[in-house]
């Protein structure tokens, strides 16, 4: 066994993911933030905007659910663990910072995917038909990876006060929801809105979900998938690089 080898580090990252799921996920506040908030936002727009079809809003709800669940906990894990000194234990264990970050990402990916399937089931129960199942599965997986990387990116500032990070997280996440074609179709957006929308990975995921349920889309499917893949790789590389730099400042 080479402890520093790639597969051994992936194995250890999986241990981190299991720990995260046990400790941080499946807790009341997490479920409230990850599930109820998108549902209430959806209901608010569903009741207030009767021109938009249910299929459009359900697609947005799926997008929001995955986005909120995959980024609900991961930004606060490092501050929590820094405060509890458990991060220092991890730092003295034979696991790289990249593997710790990857482990945290795996946990949020699994949690995001799990909860999103509940939302997809609600959509199906409301009578929507799934036209492109494979595309939806690929999109959910890719977007979960991308959003979990965003979650970890939000945790980069080396503070051990979780509320600071959660505030920053909300400041970034909420505007992203409103510029990503969830409540306002991309077709109806002004040019400046569209310019912002193309910068958000959530836009491409929502477009793919809409395509999967309604067979309509704004960008070509290949562009949506490629954009999500590029965002995923970029955010993952950047978050790992930045965490490596800021980790010693947390100790």
């Amino acid at each position: 066994m080479n402890p520093a080898g790639f597969f051994e580090q992936v194995r250890r990252a999986w241990a981190i993911a299991k720990k995260d799921i046990r400790i941080y996920y499946f807790k009341g506040p997490v479920l409230i933030f990850g599930v109820f908030m998108p549902v209430f936002l959806f209901l608010a727009f569903f009741m207030g905007s009767r021109q938009l079809p249910l299929s459009f809003l359900i697609s947005g709800l799926v997008g929001m659910t995955l986005f909120f669940t995959a980024t609900a906990v991961s930004p606060a894990i490092f501050p929590w663990e820094g405060q509890a000194k458990t991060l220092e234990r991890l730092a003295s264990c034979p696991i790289t910072i990249e593997a710790i970050v990857f482990g945290d990402m795996i946990a949020s990916i699994l949690f995001g995917i799990g909860i999103t399937f509940v939302t997809v089931s609600i959509g199906l129960a409301l009578g929507l038909s799934l036209i492109h199942g494979i595309i939806l599965l690929a999109a959910i997986f890719l977007a979960a990876c991308c959003f979990s990387a965003i979650g970890m990116l939000l945790a980069v500032p080396p503070t051990n006060v979780p509320s600071n990070i959660m505030m920053l997280s909300s400041l970034i996440k909420f505007p992203m929801v409103f510029i990503s074609g969830i409540f306002i179709p991309l077709e109806q957006m002004p040019p400046w809105g569209l310019a912002l929308a193309v910068c958000s990975p959530l836009t491409y995921f929502t477009d793919l979900v809409r395509y999967s349920f309604t067979n309509t889309h704004y960008f070509p499917v290949e562009i949506d998938i490629a954009a999500l893949a590029v965002f995923t790789v970029a955010f993952t590389v950047v978050t790992m690089f930045l965490h490596k730099r800021t980790m010693p400042q947390r100790m």
Binding site: A4, P94, I95, P248
Partner: protein
């Protein structure tokens, strides 16, 4: 003997304050090395650099032959760490904490389970292995993190104030375990404030003051080295002359204290030999003979207070 820890020219600066200032030392295989110093002297910063938790600004750390900076995973694979404050996951049970450590050190599941059972039995927590750590007392948490540090049978163990604030029972259990581990070959790097603990446990101690290493030696040698003049207490079975004693080779003065003589000597060995010869020549049987060395406490205070930077 080979160096298990090789620290060379280690420096760490926080803002304008130099926490650790170009310190170098080696810890040999099989040693219990005590790392002493007053609060703020740089003990914890040094330990964190040695364990790869924070990077050194300058200098190198080689642990078990691996550079902690260029090969951190290989270096960390070989040691365990027991920090001062318990950092087990309080939302997990003792068993889950140990299994997590087993996975982080790459142990196969069966071995991790066997080791966990053995270690929990050894630290007296087997009965409560399925209880969440948040319900544990401080002593129990400390024993658990010792078990967590030992899950992979490390060749080197770092401990930072492992008995600080613990009850006598937990303290004795931990110290006894450390002795046993050392007997089995584990090298131990012990940071402590407890001089008695260091005196009884350590083969060598290093004393750090203001970020600089001021002394490294065996506790007994450190104690004697700080005093240029040595004191010996001797009593005989009958009266002897103080002037005669004061005139013996190696003896500079003899003062009567109760039924004993306190001998001041420049060279303890010469003075003791002279006293024994005197005893034989004058048929004066030695009833008691004690060397009055300063305690490690005194040595520590002297070394950490003198020439304060």
């Amino acid at each position: 003997m080979s160096a298990v820890i090789h620290a060379s020219d280690l420096t760490k600066v926080f803002g304008k304050s130099t926490a650790v200032d170009h310190i170098s030392f080696d810890v040999q295989k099989g040693e219990i090395f005590g790392f002493l110093g007053p609060n703020g002297a740089g003990k914890t910063t040094t330990t964190r650099m040695l364990t790869g938790v924070i990077p050194a600004d300058t200098g190198t750390v080689i642990i078990l032959g691996h550079d902690i900076r260029s090969a951190p995973v290989l270096a960390k694979q070989g040691f365990g760490v027991v920090p001062e404050t318990s950092n087990a996951y309080t939302d997990l049970t003792a068993w889950q904490n140990l299994m997590l450590m087993g996975e982080l050190y790459g142990l196969p599941r069966a071995r991790a389970e066997r080791r966990s059972s053995d270690l929990l039995g050894m630290v007296g927590l087997l009965e409560r292995k399925d209880q969440k750590v948040q319900a544990y007392s401080k002593g129990m948490k400390q024993r658990l993190i010792l078990a967590m540090a030992l899950i992979h049978e490390p060749a080197l163990l770092f401990l930072d104030e492992p008995t600080s604030g613990l009850d006598v029972q937990s303290t004795q259990m931990i110290l006894s375990l450390l002795r046993d581990l050392n007997t089995q070959g584990t090298t131990i790097f012990l940071t402590t404030h407890n001089m008695e603990e260091a005196n009884r446990l350590c083969h060598r101690v290093g004393i750090i003051r203001g970020g600089k290493m001021v002394a490294i030696d065996a506790p007994e040698k450190l104690k004697t080295a700080i005093d240029q003049v040595h004191k010996i207490e001797v009593s005989f079975d009958h009266e002897v002359s103080g002037d005669t004693l004061a005139g013996l080779s190696g003896v500079t003065a003899a003062i009567r204290i109760g039924d004993k003589w306190q001998i001041t000597a420049e060279n303890r060995d010469t003075a003791i030999r002279s006293l024994v010869t005197f005893s034989q020549q004058n048929s004066a049987e030695i009833v008691t003979l004690n060397t009055l060395a300063p305690s490690l406490d005194e040595a520590f205070l002297r070394l950490t207070q003198e020439k304060k930077p």
